[in-house]
Amino acid sequence: MALEVLLVEDSKTQAAQIKETLESVGLRVRIAYDGPDGIREAIENPPALVVLDVKLPSMDGFQVCRRLKRNPATQDIPVIMLTEKAGPQATMSGLRAGADDYIPKDIFASEHLINTLQELGILE
């Protein structure tokens, strides 16, 4: 059975693009459109991986990541932050929040996302 990824992304267009990338490598994708929903989904039905946008309504991706990593039920789930905020401070904030990788949304994003999934053992 295909592993499931929880994608937390408020933009429906970007969510559809990322979903397509993840499904192209055989993963199932569930989408949450804001941080609180993402946390709830991760706790109630833990996925194999969380792909998390930084800019989210009501609670940003850094806060979501910190909460997931503090909760024993979700702390071992790898988190990849996929973001438009790619500067040094934002990168360090993402990694300090506990993200396993921090990938800018640029033309290479899909390739880097798939490489990281392989590194994390999500993909063979």
């Binding site: 990849i80 790619a86 500067g87 040094p88 401070q89 990168t91 360090m92 993402g94 990694l95 993200a99 396993d100 990788d101 921090y102 990938i103 800018p104 640029d106 033309i107 290479f108 880097h112 490489n115 990281t116 590194e119 994390l120």
Partner: protein, 143 residues
């Protein structure tokens, strides 16, 4: 390889990117990820290195002239790391201390070392080292 400067021995991978426009910043970021992946850096460290490389590329681009960013493996003893460097002739005559303070303030903890080498044509050099166990593997692979 002769263009590469710095206090450490060079080892593969050796990559260069000419930075001429904003698209090249993305290419530098991508190249840093590839180089650090080849050396065995973990995804989180690859994220740090790619962000550091992109920051250097942005700095270079602001001068309005094309410059080359070098990305290469380095060895010191049994330690292996990734070095990111670029000549910065516009910094000739500027206090090295002031440059380093500004760079450290901008780059924070993204890399382990930031060095400014040379007076006539200064080179900004940034290095991140693999931890000891990873270094041993990379060192063995490189031999």
């Amino acid at each position: 390889m002769s263009d590469i400067r710095g206090p450490y021995h060079t080892r593969p991978p050796i990559m260069t990117v000419k930075v001429e426009d904003s698209m090249d910043i993305m290419i530098v970021r991508d190249t840093a990820r590839r180089a650090s992946s080849l050396l065995g850096f973990a995804p989180a460290h690859r994220a740090q290195l790619s962000s550091a490389a992109a920051t250097l590329a942005e700095l270079v681009l602001k001068t309005g002239e094309a410059h080359t960013i070098h990305l290469n493996g380095v060895i010191e003893g049994t330690r292996t790391g990734l070095q990111i460097s670029s000549e910065t002739p516009w910094l000739a005559g500027v206090s090295a201390n002031n440059v380093l303070v500004a760079l450290r303030s901008k780059l924070g903890d993204l890399v382990d070392e930031i060095i400014l080498e040379g007076r006539e044509t200064p080179v900004i050099i940034m290095v991140m080292w693999l931890d000891e166990a990873q270094s041993r593997e990379a060192f063995d692979d490189g031999e």
